[in-house]
């Protein structure tokens, strides 16, 4: 293990490829790089991509469906542009960071490394305990449209990992296999594992500063950037919304538009009361995740990849009882109903803002929202402009026209018939 101050700095001309995975503090790290580009460039480090993270490029080379491309893989051009930028960078060291890379299979990983030049690429994997990742990843999936309840999802992930629910979870989060996959692509001596410190999230930033040779304290995440996990009222409201959304038979694209790029973002900008319930993982799942964490830690230790931080911390489980008793003691004074109503109003507002109906009126501009990879397009203004009963609002204009024509024709025929009989 190489844990000291020296020896962390990667050689000049290195491309540091941070592949996540998801829910390991990537947003804080990326926002710190993105918001201090000039300072970082001056210190000899180029942060690749125009936005906070080049998610579209990562999805393009790994062939993953992307919410930025209507659920399809973005054009390969996105990735090629990024590689061109990396090749043209004058700074001695380049950082490319997107958790989108963690979803790559062996072939995808090999392509990424080949395009970035295997001799110059250093893959960095950031890790957190599975027990912390589980609730965080679940609520992220709900933001993406999943309807499965937490307990049921945990059962599927931990007891029936070959099932159809969230099949991508273990590709990201079986971290020993993830490290092995990228070691196969880049060479094990080109893979670094950074184990986070659950008590001190800033430590990860310090490690990255040392990896690329930035002055300590250069990387500071934007304070306003909230990629926080949703609370129980928030996530359960979204989940119920997803159920209703599916029942209406609506498209994934529309869901991306109104939830991912609308309601979910607005919800995360709420400041929930500290007593608002947080997602709690049941004891059996914590136990099981701790066991798996041990196997993952052992696998990584045996892989020969460089490890920064304490692998043993991956087997940690938070004490479950404490948070719950504290919450229930205070619940009397806390107005749960008001919290739900507020969540509901935020959800409704998110839907309206993303629909474009209120775009000129928003105090907070759409462009100011910290989208990961650029401001999403909102498309044309929605068609509706009048008072309609809900039953009619659900009927498409062509169908409405058809019904009307049929009815008027029917009425005309009925009027004609007695006239004929008379004549």
């Amino acid at each position: 293990m190489n844990n000291g101050d020296d020896g962390l700095l990667v050689p000049p001309r290195t491309r540091l490829l941070h592949i996540g995975p998801h829910k390991t503090g990537t947003t804080a790290l990326q926002s710190a790089f993105h918001s201090h580009r000039a300072d970082i460039e001056a210190q000899g480090v180029h942060y690749a991509g125009p936005n906070r993270q080049p998610m579209g490029a990562a999805h393009a080379i790994t062939g993953s469906p992307s919410p930025y491309a209507d659920g399809k893989a973005p054009p390969l051009r996105r990735w090629q542009d990024l590689v061109r930028e990396v090749d043209g960078a004058r700074a001695p060291r380049v950082v490319i960071s997107s958790e989108g890379f963690a979803d790559a299979d062996e072939a995808g990983a090999a392509k990424v490394v080949a395009d970035l030049d295997p001799s110059r690429t250093q893959v960095v994997v950031t890790l957190r305990p599975l027990t912390a990742i589980l609730p965080s990843q679940w609520q992220q999936y709900v933001q993406g449209g999943m309807t499965t309840a937490y307990d049921e999802w945990l059962d599927a992930m931990l007891n029936r990992p070959q099932g159809t629910i969230a099949p991508g979870f273990w590709r990201r989060h079986r971290h020993d296999a993830l490290v092995a996959r990228w070691a196969a692509a880049a060479g094990v001596d080109h893979v670094t594992v950074v184990v986070g410190d659950e008590g001190d999230h800033a430590r990860q930033l310090r490690v990255f500063e040392r990896l690329v040779g930035l002055r300590e304290g250069t990387l500071v995440p934007e304070a306003s950037l909230g990629n926080r996990s949703l609370t129980v009222p928030e996530v359960e409201s979204l989940r119920a919304f997803n159920v209703a959304f599916r029942a209406e038979g609506l498209s994934t694209q529309l869901h991306n538009k109104v939830v991912r790029f609308g309601a979910a973002e607005l919800l995360k900008q709420r400041t929930p009361d500290p007593r608002e319930p947080r997602i709690e993982t049941p004891a059996w799942a914590l136990e099981r995740a701790t066991e798996l964490g041990r196997a993952i830690a052992d696998g990584i230790a045996a892989s020969g990849a460089r490890v920064i931080g304490d692998l043993a911390s991956l087997t940690m489980a938070p004490a479950p009882g404490r948070a719950r008793s504290r919450a229930s003691a205070k619940r009397d004074a806390y107005d749960v109903d008001a919290a739900w109503a507020d969540v509901g109003a935020t959800l409704a507002l998110g839907v309206v803002l993303s629909s474009g109906l209120a775009r000129a009126d928003t105090s907070k501009s759409w462009a100011q929202i910290p989208w990961p990879d650029g401001v999403p397009k909102r498309g044309s203004r929605p068609p509706r402009a009048r008072v309609e009963p809900l039953e009619l609002a659900r009927v498409s204009t062509p169908l409405l026209g058809l019904i009307l024509v049929r009815r008027l024709a029917g009425a005309a025929l009925a009027r004609l018939r007695p006239a004929r009989r008379a004549s």
Binding site: S237, F245, L357, T362, P383, A393
Partner: protein
């Protein structure tokens, strides 16, 4: 009480039902709309193409500051229809109750004073209070219930107070219309809180219809919101107002969106209802006493027992024991669905759920309604195309006032 025959209005009468709001008007209107053919066969015409001629009545009552041309056309069209109808005619809208004296006089004149009879439906104030509050909330109000009650009773001449009492000081409402139409040309019907079909029987008596001609329609869409639903809608109003979505946009997205979607669901029986505090119930009982005395003095015809309009406050001790006997009402398990329903309602009203409609759901709407919506959509689509690139929102078109 008089026997049925004595209540029947003369042949050729135009019966003007003026509400007021929250007195079962939708039940009456839905029943007549559904039974158009049956009542016509018995010589009664129900005026207007839809369930409720709201636009026409709003134009006639001149309540809206922005009475559109379309609305005044709707009123003159309704008048033409009334004049050409043989036999008895019913015109029903709670919006007539909001008419100024001048507007009321014009309405009576237009309908022909000698042939017009005004009917007012009445319900205890204690029942009207929560019902009217949640209706105002659906129409955009953000004031919490207790604060609103305080304004009603302590500042009756404030804006909020005047708006409420103009409709619901029922003795004065009746006196206003009696002064214009004549005391012998105004009737009151006391609505039974338990038996919702009783009001239909009263209208059958007035119009000489065979008892049972009118049937209660499923009017879930007109139910009151439960407390958590109303609180959600109120929070949505606050949030929408914070980004400048008010007025017509609020009505489009909330009243015709979130609230409409909520009302389409059958509310679970364990959801908390809007509860009026004992002090307000007591104040309402005092006012109700004055209202009953005032109606007695007016000398109009009354169908039903006026005493039922006065509901005494239940002492706190009895309320507490009733509450402990009943299972506790808790919204907790219902919140996700309530929130999701509201959001889907907004999404639908925003016109983003155009694919899910079924032809069968359209059955209840008149050709005229469908045509105006269809043409309106085409116009809007053309306007949107013409304005492509314009950044100002424009979902303000047809103007209505609804609360």
């Amino acid at each position: 009480m008089t026997d049925d025959g004595a209540l029947r209005l003369p042949e050729g009468t135009r019966l003007l039902h003026i509400g007021p709001h929250k007195t079962g008007t939708t039940s009456v209107q839905a029943a007549f709309h559904a039974a158009r053919a049956e009542v016509a066969a018995q010589g009664v015409h129900y005026a207007g193409p839809n369930r409720h001629p709201r636009q026409a009545a709003q134009a006639a009552a001149r309540t809206s500051l922005n009475a559109s041309r379309g609305a005044s056309r709707a009123w003159s069209g309704l008048l033409r229809e009334v004049r050409s109808a043989p036999g008895r005619v019913l015109i029903s809208s709670e919006w007539f109750a909001d008419a100024s004296d001048e507007a009321a006089r014009d309405i009576i004149e237009a309908l022909d004073r000698d042939r017009t009879h005004v009917v007012v439906t009445l319900r205890p104030l204690t029942g009207i209070l929560p019902s009217q509050w949640q209706q105002f909330v659906q129409a955009g109000m953000t004031t919490p219930y207790l604060e609103w009650l305080r304004a009603i009773f302590d500042e009756p001449s404030s804006g909020v107070g005047r708006r409420f009492w103009r409709r619901h000081r029922h003795d004065r409402l009746i006196a206003r219309w009696a002064a214009i139409a004549g005391t012998d040309r105004v009737s009151a019907v006391v609505v039974d809180g338990q038996d919702h079909s009783a009001v239909l029987r009263a209208f059958e008596r007035l119009l000489g219809l065979t008892p049972g001609t009118l049937r209660l329609e499923n009017d879930r869409a007109n139910r009151s919101l439960t407390l958590p639903e109303a609180e959600l809608v109120r929070a949505v109003n606050v949030a929408f107002a914070s980004v400048g979505l008010a007025g017509q946009a609020q009505l489009d997205l909330v009243l015709f969106g979130a609230a409409a979607a909520l009302k389409q669901r059958e509310p679970s029986s364990d959801l908390p209802r809007i509860e009026t505090p004992a002090w307000a119930v007591a104040r309402a009982a005092v006012v109700a006493g004055e209202i009953v005395a005032g109606i007695r003095d007016a000398g109009i015809r009354v169908d039903g027992d006026l005493e039922r309009l006065v509901e005494r406050a239940v002492p706190a001790s009895e309320r507490a024991s009733a509450r402990s006997a009943a299972p506790a009402r808790d919204a907790a398990g219902h919140w996700p669905e309530i929130v999701a329903t509201g959001a889907i309602g907004v999404l639908t009203a925003a016109g983003l759920v155009r694919s899910a409609g079924r032809v069968s759901e359209v059955r209840g709407f008149s050709n005229q309604r469908l045509r105006s919506i269809f043409l309106g959509r085409l116009r809007d689509a053309a306007a949107i195309r013409a304005r492509a690139g314009d950044r100002t929102p424009s979902i303000h078109s047809a103007r209505v006032e609804v609360e």
